[in-house]
Subunit: 110 residues, 2 copies
DNA sequence: TTCATAACTTACCTCGACGTAAGCGACTGA
DNA sequence: TCAGTCGCTTACGTCGAGGTAAGTTATGAA
């Protein structure tokens, strides 16, 4: 089932944060910009997350052979289209997370 | 950010499959029914997944003290509301997964 | 008195996600 | 000659998700 694969991908720790940040940055940004835009991410994880996104066709990597090197990442149409259902989840979380919290508290109280 | 927590939850291997299956079964089902409805899941994982869903208020667990025991799980309104954005992801995967596959193939070919 | 039943729990193990820290390559400016 | 810059990669260690298999509980049926 493709849904499972999709959820495995976007369910990891950084993927969604990176795509959302890239979108917020105007759809195109350098490695170091993303590093700053996603607080707490390490270079290792940002690099591997972007590599996966690139492989999946959700972003495009463009290397400018300068020194020091410049690399820009751009969100693709496919990547942008994923933002819509993602936003649905974001909205759900905003609207209902408090209720989940309460359920947890009640449950743990017993 | 609550979205991260939400994604961690539903991004695991079984949660979404269990909720979707429970819904397909009419919103209410026994442990063994779910076991059959979610192929490949072990009792251990089904048990812990349901425990989490219960704690989060997405399903309700009802125990009938018979022998052998009967336990029924019912999806809550909160749980049902989560199905909507989830369906958005399902639809996206259905519509776009082929494209992701192609991107991967092209990428790997190089 | 042994068996089967439903719904678990427990013990044990593996494997990969993730974190941290350091190194690297090619060039520029001081 | 040396440090600084950017975008990485490599090495190493931890931790927890998840798999497998077996045990548990109470009772009625054979």
């Amino acid at each position: 089932m493709a849904v499972r694969e999709l959820l495995t991908k976007i369910g990891d720790k950084w993927t969604i944060l990176v795509i959302l940040s890239l979108d917020l940055l105007g759809g195109r940004a350098r490695f170091s910009e993303l590093e700053r835009a996603v607080p707490g991410i390490s270079q290792r994880m940002l690099s591997s997350t972007l590599k996966n996104l690139d492989r999946d066709g959700l972003v495009i990597r463009e290397l400018f052979p300068e020194v020091p090197p410049r690399v820009e990442y751009e969100i693709t149409a496919l990547g942008k289209s994923l933002l819509r259902p993602t936003q649905g989840l974001v909205d759900w979380a905003k609207a209902n997370w408090e209720q989940v919290r309460e359920a947890q508290s009640k449950h743990d109280a017993r």
